[in-house]
């Protein structure tokens, strides 16, 4: 039985390489301390299908590249008190957004991957979410409360931000975060 009310934390993996989640897991033994204070209510490492209500902190890795991600991000924003851009794809678009440099990249990228570079079964998949015209960093779509840049951000930085927020303090990123 829980004696203390735990902080409800979620993590989301949009268009990114999962490196930021790896970095999150790289907190190693500090995760044990974190687990005492945190309930992980939604995450690629927790099997929950629908983004829940009343989330205190949501860490989001990756840029917004398709319609499903767009609606998930908007829902997460509605249901979260503190929303954090985790890592460069979420903060700048990073490698995920490199396709923005080409016109009609939502079509061109599929053409390139599934037709031009395919040796067999050349066909563009239709049963997957539609790509957006452009890839966006999170703050172009919703209000973001904190930014943790880095590719990936260090485990120490992620731990610092979470520890501060759990203690009810405002993380001071000055001198800690590194652009890009």
């Amino acid at each position: 039985m829980e004696t203390v009310e735990k902080t409800r934390v979620a993590t989301i993996w949009l268009s990114g390489c999962s490196g930021c989640h790896m970095s999150f897991l790289d907190q190693d033994e500090l995760l044990i301390d974190l687990a005492k204070k945190v309930k992980l209510v939604y995450s690629p490492i927790a099997d929950v299908k629908v983004f829940p209500e009343n989330v205190d902190v949501t860490l989001i890795e990756g840029a917004v590249a398709n319609e499903e991600q767009l609606s998930l991000l908007k829902r997460a924003r509605e249901r979260t008190k503190i929303l954090i851009s985790l890592g460069d794809c979420a903060v700048t678009g990073n490698v995920t957004a490199l396709r923005n440099a080409w016109e009609n990249s939502d079509q061109a990228i599929l053409q390139r991957a599934y037709i031009e570079n395919a040796n067999v079964n050349q066909q563009i998949p239709t049963d997957v979410p539609k790509l957006l015209k452009k890839v966006h960093p999170l703050h172009e779509v919703v209000k973001v409360d904190y930014f943790i840049p880095g590719c990936p951000p260090s485990a120490g930085l992620i731990n610092y931000v979470l520890t501060e927020l759990l203690a009810g303090r405002t993380p001071n990123m000055e001198g800690r975060s590194k652009y890009g």
């Binding site: 460069d88 903060v91 700048t92 957004a97 490199l98 440099a101 452009k134 703050h139 000055e174 890009g180």
Partner: protein, 238 residues
């Protein structure tokens, strides 16, 4: 020969410098560092990046310290909330103007733009990014230019003209569309004036000009212009 000197105040500190000195240099010589991306000692001032903007009491305008000469009794402020805000904005505009993706850039962790963003606490860009797809020229034996990473500081152009003396590099077009070109907009590999001296790569503050196969940390040597200028004046201080 006597040099006429001028006395002014920078951030409340009284300093005396030779007449005609620019505020940026007067500050630096007195231990006050004003951020800049386009200015480089040994090269003529350019006034392009707007990061060295300072306040001068008595005027509501902001002045670029690299091209504003000192005058007697001047009171200069180099640090204020307003200036920091403008500098943050300038860095964000530079980051938004072209395709600056640090994680895949040769200059990651050795980039003056990136380090300035860190110093100023810029952790994201508020402006919508322009995703440029400009030509990358790797036709030279070892020098490469990626114009998508260029911040148009013109250090490469000035070092090529003023130090190496060949003026292979120059700008074409205007404003945000400006691009560094070789000779009459030829591919670098077929430039007849380029001496392959590498100075452009040494002074590039970002990852726009680099040497193929060489770590940028090894290439960068932005003091080269000042160093050569001093040697030409027979100053052997280092």
């Amino acid at each position: 020969m006597t040099t006429t000197t001028v006395t002014l105040k920078i951030d409340g500190l009284e300093v005396t410098v030779p007449e005609g000195t620019m505020i940026l240099k007067a500050a630096k010589d007195n231990g006050i560092i004003i951020p800049t991306l386009c200015n480089l000692e040994g090269l003529s001032p350019y006034g392009g990046c707007r990061l060295c903007l300072v306040e001068i009491s008595g005027s509501p305008k902001l002045f670029p310290a690299c091209i504003t000469p000192v005058s007697s009794g001047m009171e200069v402020t180099t640090k204020s909330e307003r200036l920091t805000e403008y500098r943050r904005m300038a860095v964000q505009m530079l980051l938004a103007e072209r395709t600056h993706i640090c994680s895949v850039c040769v200059a990651n962790d050795h980039c003056e733009l990136q380090s300035l963003a860190n110093q100023l606490g810029v952790d994201h860009v508020l402006f919508e990014r322009k995703w440029t797809n400009l030509e990358i020229d790797s036709s030279h034996d070892f020098l490469v230019i990626d114009r998508n990473r260029c911040i148009l500081c013109t250090r490469c152009i000035r070092v090529c003209d003023e130090i190496e003396g060949v003026h292979t590099l120059d700008l074409k077009l205007r404003g945000k569309d400006s691009q560094v070109i070789m000779d009459l907009d030829e591919h670098w590999g077929s430039s007849c004036s380029c001496t392959s001296c590498r100075k452009c790569a040494k002074v590039c503050p970002v990852g726009a000009i680099y040497i193929e196969g060489e770590p940028v940390s090894h290439t960068k040597h932005k003091d080269i212009a000042e160093f050569i200028t001093e040697r030409r004046q027979r100053k052997w201080k280092r």
